[in-house]
């Protein structure tokens, strides 16, 4: 068992420079501390997952990378640049895309318009190509291009949120609980899509999940977060086999 109980120091550091590197980040909501010094690395071409219970600070970490809330201490480095103080919309223009918690699609706008919004980062330079690509990845969206976002089912909305994020041709795709509230079949379909994108295009993925089993099976590496601190990290397989992880996040859960 090589899964470590101490934080990041023990992660087998890859010789490559990480694409995203979170260093000692502390974030607060008012006076309440949400992240108590978090270190996370995401290397190019990896799928990295962050698992943890409700309120552990997983979504906060993802939002902190995007500067909302801002990290009060520590650093967020993306592609060699310090983005700790960069404005959210500028971060999005650097090749980071997110499918946020609760999907946050634009309900009164059509699927097509939602996808257009995703492409505004690079001024619609590859819009037609990318639209074609999203429609190939998610054929369901193709059928619904003219339908309003709010009329889609939960799974379709999740596909739209991921598709919208992909429209900006990101280097790093950050997904916040894509499985939330979806039927197991749809969850499998979405996770398969993520795996395919990673394999075929080398897309780097950072996945925040509560569905630990699926997430760890998919991911190359994983982190476990408890109360704003990373308590364990290791490869997906290692974490899946780790008795502590099994006890806390897998036993009793339906796999």
């Amino acid at each position: 068992m090589s899964a470590m109980t101490e934080p990041a120091a023990a992660v087998a550091t890859s010789p490559r420079q990480p694409l995203l590197s979170v260093r000692g980040v502390k974030a607060y909501y008012g006076n309440i501390i949400a992240l108590k010094g978090v270190d996370v690395d995401v290397h190019p071409g990896e799928i990295v997952t962050l698992i943890g219970a409700n309120g552990a600070g997983k979504s906060t970490l993802m939002m902190t990378v995007f500067g909302n809330p801002r990290a009060r201490e520590g650093q967020v480095i993306y592609d060699g640049q310090d983005i700790t103080r960069t404005e959210t919309h500028l971060i999005a223009r650097m090749g980071l895309a997110q499918s946020p918690e609760g999907r946050r699609i634009f309900p009164r706008m059509t699927v097509y318009e939602n996808l257009q919004m995703g492409a505004s980062v690079d001024n619609f330079a590859h819009f037609d190509q990318d639209l074609e690509r999203i429609c190939t990845i998610f054929p369901r969206l193709k059928e619904r291009l003219q339908q309003r976002g709010g009329t889609l089912s939960g799974g379709e909305q999740q596909m739209l949120a991921i598709g919208r994020a992909l429209m900006s041709r990101p280097q790093l795709l950050m997904l916040d609980e894509p499985s939330l509230g979806l039927a197991p079949l749809i969850v499998k379909m979405i996770f398969d899509t993520i795996r395919d994108l990673n394999k075929s295009e080398g897309l780097t993925v950072f996945l925040v999940e509560q569905n630990a089993f699926h997430a760890l099976k998919l991911a190359h590496r994983g982190y476990v977060m408890v109360n704003g601190v990373i308590t364990m990290s290791g490869s997906g397989k290692e974490l899946l086999a780790n008795p502590q992880v099994r006890a806390a996040y897998l036993e009793g859960g339906r796999h």
Binding site: N68, L90, F106, Q116, G150, T151
Partner: protein, 473 residues
Amino acid sequence: MAKANNRASEQTAIVEQGLTPALKEAAFAALVTFGLCIPIVAWGTRQDLNNRLILDQRWDAVAWAVLIVFVGRLLVSLNKQRRAAGGGPLVSMPNALLPAMAKLLPVLAPLAIGFLFVFPIVAIFGSGWQGSIKWIDNFGVQILIYVMLGWGLNIVVGLAGLLDLGYVAFYAVGAYSYALFATKVIPATYPALGVWAFWICLPIAGLLAAFWGVLLGFPVLRLRGDYLAIVTLAFGEIIRLVLINWVDFSGGYAGISTIPRPSFFGIPFNASDSGFAAVFGLEFSPLYRTIFLYYVILMLALLTAFVTIRLRRMPVGRAWEALREDEIACRSLGINTTSTKLTAFAIGAGFGGVAGAFFAARQGFISPESFTFMESAVVLAIVVLGGMGSLWGVAIAAVAMIGGPELMREMDLLKPIFGADFDPTKYRMLIFGLAMVVIMIWKPRGLISTREPTAFLKESKSVSGSLVKEGHG
């Protein structure tokens, strides 16, 4: 309740059946009305010849109000019961009408615009040379000013979703810009430009108003909803109070008079030899100016609509709408929300300013009295009643809200009912309130609430989005 079938119970909450609950509800509503009427309606004051206040008893009016509310509430309750029992149509008529109307729109739009262009001619044929001034001015010009204001505010409130209660401030900025430039600046610097004053000042007024829109925009960038509404409300009042108190600048309560009227591209509308009538070999009549003003405001309003339609299809317009839907999502998609909000404020304010300049030129006299909060409320009511974001809805609401009271004044048959000195404009607020309540019950998202998509695919791939009812998933 037992009768309620699945389909109906899905749509409405459980509704008690029978006459007694309906009567109870109606009685309760009547009681509330009675309570409200005691302090507001039951006693009226007036001064007699000796300047003494006389207290009038108006219990008959109270009785009427209570009766109307009782009967109205009873009918509403009974109707609700009927619907819950599955007896009534589940899709109310107007909802069913809208898809049909949407199909007709491509035909309707040119027809409506065509009618607007021939309206002065229709008015002249309908009510004669003298009688038509009233129709063109009181109806045509007046309504079109509010249509333009509504379309301008629609950019801020309807598209960008920023609740602005101080829109009248930009209307005032536009009006005073024109008035001050035309009466002070131009005569002092280039008097030869006098006849062109309106055409020179129109863009200046728009730009100044847009500038003030940005100035207002900066401090309120982080605010939304109620907080934004309060700050914009205060801004509107500040502008008005400055205009009242800075007498050297604006003339205070006295306002600014003898504002130059617009010229026909350099040819003034007067009875002189170089006037419009003489140049074109016509007999002098004030009607020409009125007709000209009508076409000017028509073009300005259509320009507003055109710009809005174009902008909606451009990235900035789409960003406005996305901002209205979800600000956080916008930011994480790389949209600069600061500049998006500021452009919405600036462009909306700019159109308000142009409308203000036109208003000053048409009236020839302006004072702070014309720019009270009431005006903001009226324009906002037009936007909300029309359906936020819908150009058609706003136009229809403006016609109803501004044209309605004017039309009621024309109706002689109302005189015997309400008395000879019946002035419907006094009841404008009452009508607004009623319209608001009716719209809230009947179409809570405004007259035309379906949002038109801005992008269309070449071939329709499935059901059109506008035909599918919105759900929140």
